[in-house]
Symmetry: C2
Subunit: 443 residues, 2 copies
């Protein structure tokens, strides 16, 4: 019998180790995928794609053991050679090849020139060929940035006393209700896919006080816009013992700051590849919904059509206003109208037509919805009744309040939307590995 005793030490070197190797006769072993080949006759430049970036390898007639005509783009190889300084190579180093072993070979030529710096193709084609288009260096860098955001969310919240939870995605009733739910049969019982972990994270405030979850949510909305996905990753937090919804805004500001620091520290390479300038997050202005509407109506001479809702165009103008007037990419729009918020939102005791809630706009796009929730059982069931809603399927949620809950609130952040705005992309699908929309169920 064999033992598995911790990670096997690999003989092959990864990029950070390779870049530390000094020019010498020492042979090193490297694995990677052939990203591109430029054959000049007696020598050929073979660019290897590794998880940390590209490495220039040089094939030389008579010095490398494999004939260059046996090597092709898409091959996965294990090679050995020596490291040499070379100004014109990426990272200033190249690997002169002595041996090339082909580990696996593609069965067909690549359908996209993924070695181009920028993929010269439509979003539609990129998405249709997603497994291949993501192999482009810029395309994949986006998802390292996305990783950084999600990682920052968790790391920051651990440091603030939050507990991570995993709540079910199959449920019997949605938090916001109605037409935007995917429905299916669960062992002959009617079931839905959760559009938010809202009920569960509130329930868990009664247990752990501060909780978060990073997971998929599902919305059957018949929107086919550049901002909507029918499945996305939601970064959710919920916290007890708040004094006001400003505690939630402050926690989000703290998260955003932490994110920018983590990206600068750990994702500098990807920021550079993508040419991203990180937004300022020192302090974020809060403006009331009604005031925001008036400000943009005045400055941009736009008539207010509906005083109780924000149109996408208005969101963009609010973003523009705060960029122009305060040089700020972010703004919290607070006190949304009650009729536009779910029943569990806490109404403003000073004016019950509005709620103690907010959206965060980032460059004119809503990336977060949050606010204070009702914690009193009678207030909650009273509001439910005034809205003519049934308690059916919500008994357990409501009982949580019957047995006592602290004042609390929370928020949900759309990971893809936040990533999209950081990247400066204009379609949320650019920030989703495998988007699901009304027309797209594959790959």
């Amino acid at each position: 019998m064999e033992f598995a005793a911790g990670i096997l030490k690999k003989e092959t070197l990864e990029l950070p180790q390779i870049l530390e190797v000094k020019e010498s006769d020492r042979e090193i072993l490297v694995e990677g995928t052939v990203h591109s080949i430029r054959n000049m006759g007696e020598i050929a430049f073979v660019i290897l794609r590794k998880r940390d970036g590209l490495l220039q390898a040089v094939w030389e007639e008579g010095k490398t053991d494999l004939s260059i005509c046996h090597l092709k783009e898409g091959d996965c190889v294990r090679v050995s050679g020596t490291i040499h300084e070379e100004e014109r190579a990426p990272h200033g180093k190249e690997l002169r090849l002595s041996k090339v072993e082909i580990l696996s070979s593609p069965a067909a030529p690549l359908p996209l020139a993924i070695d181009k710096w920028k993929l010269n193709t439509s979003l539609e084609t990129k998405l249709n060929l997603r497994p291949i288009s993501l192999r482009n260096i810029k395309e994949r860098a986006r998802f390292k940035i996305q990783e950084g955001v999600c990682r920052a969310f968790r790391e920051f919240l651990y440091s603030q006393g939050f507990t991570e939870v995993h709540t079910p995605k199959i449920g019997s009733k949605g938090a916001e209700g109605g037409s935007s739910l995917f429905k299916f049969s669960y062992f002959h019982k009617p079931a839905i896919l959760e559009q938010s972990p809202q009920f569960y994270k509130q329930i868990m405030v009664g247990v752990f006080d501060r909780v978060f979850e990073t997971g998929p949510v599902f919305r059957a909305e018949k929107h086919n816009t550049r901002r909507h996905l029918n499945e996305y990753t939601s970064l959710d937090l919920e916290m007890g013992y708040i004094d006001s919804f400003m505690d939630i805004c402050a926690m989000e500001t703290g998260f955003l700051r932490y994110t920018m620091e983590l990206l600068k520290k750990e994702y500098a390479k990807e920021l550079k590849i993508l040419g991203i300038r990180l937004p300022g997050t020192d302090k974020i202005l809060c403006v009331r919904f009604t005031e925001a509407k008036e400000l943009v109506s005045e400055k941009y001479r736009r008539k207010i059509k509906n005083p109780f809702d924000l149109e996408p165009e208005e969101e963009e103008l609010i973003g523009r206003y705060f960029k122009e007037e305060y040089d700020s990419d972010f703004v919290f729009v607070t006190h949304y109208p009650s009729k536009k918020r779910p029943f569990y939102a806490m109404d403003d005791p000073e004016d019950e037509r509005f709620t103690l809630s907010f959206d965060l706009l980032f460059k004119g796009l809503e990336v977060t919805t949050g606010g204070q929730r009702i914690h009193d059982y009678n207030m909650l069931t009273g509001k439910l009744e005034r809205r003519g809603m049934s308690r059916e399927g919500m008994e357990q949620y409501l009982d949580t309040f019957k047995y006592g809950m602290p004042p609390h609130g929370g928020l949900g952040i759309g990971l893809e939307r936040l990533t999209m705005q950081l990247l400066g992309e204009d379609n949320v699908r650019e920030a989703c590995l495998f988007p699901r929309d009304m027309n797209r169920l594959e790959p």
Copy 2:
């Protein structure tokens, strides 16, 4: 307009800060939920539940501003008082109350005595009253341990060059296929809930080389056992450029070691509350499937009924065998029969009836399935054809291999099962916040 400028400093103290306060006349401010009240007449012990544990507060007639009869279990309060040394109190300190402010009050008495050390009730009742039963100190501690496992998985894999991915849970075809899929209508197209991120994580190996995901998976299996859930959290990894499936076993061993270290360091309190002795993870034995069957058949005089499958009882006996013979809680069972593994599993070139795959058993229960995958396009499509399977809905997955993939493999760990075995529980529902099984869709 207001600014949100990072986390608001709270005046109230959390438990770690409180325990650092020396006995003095300094008044401190604390928030929490009234976990229990023991009223002795002139004084009353009011145990406050906070996210980090319990705090003994003492109400005294004439010294505390609120009458004790106005306080009840389940109240959320903000109190002030002074800290005093008290041997008999949890942590050796108590808070003598001067002021009590009730932030919120339950509408009904608690249906369970959650302040008991061990909830004296059936699993069924605990699950029915989950929002409340989780408020018990021991119940909630389990999910801190679960947090630790999931956190360790991510932290360890970041350190090993893995990239986190978020893959869709709505798909058009499952990795293992067939009857164990939940089906539904996605904008009038037939869709399924993914039973594994298998196809996507393999696709992403072509992009990032090493990837992981922590997310929900869905299985419509008609099992109603102590080991099955119809929705669970899967910890998945997939890695390229492996030499053999032993690279995967080694990575899992590394993860398990890291987990035990993290639990000891950051979750010592919960380990103590639950009386958990962590298992040894220095090295883990690997035994071939066929050999494992023979060993237990011989030692426990049990006839081998089916040479190509492991029954749950056999798994338990293998666990027992390796505990008795090697004092090991873990064992990798390797080289599972090909007919029991999905088409993408790499067959053993030395004997094609078996695969280069494994399960990890932890105290006799399968907690992981993994192995090397086929990376060659022709080998993969050939095996598909020999099994008489259709390519429909898998075109994109298969094309990934057509355009080149490195040798690779990976694994999936059931978070709830791993937690259950760490906790020494005998039902996986004890390690799931809100279990979904054939009969349970709520809460």
